[in-house]
């Protein structure tokens, strides 16, 4: 009688385990087959505040566009931490796949950031001047500089997010992407191209029979 009870209990446990496994399998298959629906979010109306108005005179003559991949990864330091860390990850369904694998990665964030660098001239600068001599028109311009480095949320994609990440970490990565964009742009020697394009533009706007001379300070 006792043996029969034990056997029934064992069978009951096995049945429950099988049901749980089927349910888990079902959930995973469902998640794999059905892409998560993008939540229909709508921002609550809030006013747009005009904080500052500035009169400027900037001539942008060259733009450089690129995409930067920025990655941040952190590994578990010890095996014990890895085991506990992977169990903790089970609380977030998004991280189950890493947890089941027993991943050595504690957390990882990979961003693809599209950005733009504008080169040009600040014509409000005291260095901008046009004056005539007997036989020539002399245009003095400041050296070309970077006027804007633009990275926007609409051009930013989270390629991989695993684990918890603070805003500060994301902002640091975005800052790094901006620096990379500027470094790449500088390596291309775009200041020369910016100068040439400015000269082409100004030649059209300055109506003179005299020789046009461009100086850069």
């Amino acid at each position: 009688m006792e043996t029969k009870n034990k056997s029934e209990l064992f069978r009951f446990i096995i049945n429950i385990a099988v049901i749980c496994l089927i349910a888990l399998g079902g959930v995973l298959i469902f998640r794999k087959c059905k892409k998560p629906e993008v939540a229909v979010w709508k921002l609550t109306q809030t006013p747009l505040q005009l904080e500052k108005i500035r009169n400027i005179a900037e001539l942008s003559t060259v733009t450089y566009k690129d995409e930067i991949v920025v990655d941040s990864i952190e590994y578990f330091k010890e095996v014990g931490e890895q085991v506990i860390g992977n169990i903790t990850k089970l609380k977030n369904p998004e991280n189950w796949k890493y947890s089941i694998r027993g991943s050595a990665i504690k957390r990882q964030l990979t961003l693809i950031i599209g950005g733009e660098v504008h080169y040009g001239f600040d014509l409000k600068s005291q260095q901008f001047d046009i004056h005539e001599t007997e036989d020539s028109m002399i245009v003095t311009l400041p050296k070309p500089t970077i006027l804007d480095v633009i990275t926007l949320p609409s051009k930013t994609t989270v390629f991989l997010e695993h684990g918890d990440w603070s805003d500060y970490a994301r902002i640091s990565m975005q800052r790094k992407a901006k620096t990379t964009l500027v470094n790449r742009a500088n390596k291309l020697g775009l200041d020369k191209r910016a100068q040439k394009q400015a000269e082409n533009l100004l030649k059209q706007f300055i109506l003179t029979d005299k020789k046009l001379v461009f100086n850069y300070l």
Partner: protein, 189 residues
């Protein structure tokens, strides 16, 4: 029964495989411009989102993010042809400029702050992917709402001031500046 369990286990492991591969990125682009920016507006906005619409999710999530955006407006000098610049006499010049437009728009990441979040029930905290999505919605909202401001009118006014000085330095006393009628006053960037 054993076989069934093995099959199920294999199935689970297969479904757990990662499929993500880095998307192909475009080769960088370099483009010549001729944009004269004459005004810069700085806008501030609080992005307020309540994620409580789906009935099957137990609990609510609310978030407030403060953002700041800078927009520069001006005229595209590449759209000015030789026929648009006419020297009427030695002292008078007439120039027809294209309608002003938004030249650049930037949301500086340093000025983005999560002011408040409230997550309750069985809901997860907002992750970075979701926050970027909210920021993107904010970006679209600011781009749309800023067109109600005077940014393009100011850009036009400042372009007139700049070009008047530009030509006066070259000896012209009368500088006539007109603008082409805009097809749509719009945000190109």
């Amino acid at each position: 029964m054993k076989h069934f369990l093995y099959i199920l286990l294999c199935l689970i492991l297969i479904t757990c495989q990662e499929e993500k591969t880095l998307p192909e990125t475009d080769v960088y682009q370099i483009q010549d411009l001729g944009m004269l920016s004459t005004t810069e507006y700085t806008f501030g906005k609080i992005l307020h989102l309540e994620d409580n619409k789906e009935w099957y999710k137990l609990g609510d999530r609310k978030i407030l993010i403060s953002v700041r955006a800078k927009a520069k407006a001006g005229v595209d000098l590449r759209k000015v042809s030789n026929a648009d610049i006419v020297e009427k006499n030695k002292k008078t010049i007439s120039i027809t400029l294209p309608a002003p437009e938004i030249i650049s728009f930037d949301m500086n990441t340093e000025d983005v702050r999560t002011v408040h979040t409230d997550v309750n029930g069985f809901r997860m905290e907002f992750n970075q992917e979701e926050k970027i999505k909210i920021l993107e919605m904010g970006e679209q909202a600011i781009r749309k709402e800023m067109m109600q401001s005077d940014i393009l009118k100011d850009a036009e006014k400042n372009a007139v001031v700049f070009l008047r000085d530009f030509y006066k330095n070259q000896g012209y006393e009368n500088v006539i500046i007109d603008f082409k009628i805009p097809e749509t006053y719009g945000d190109k960037k």
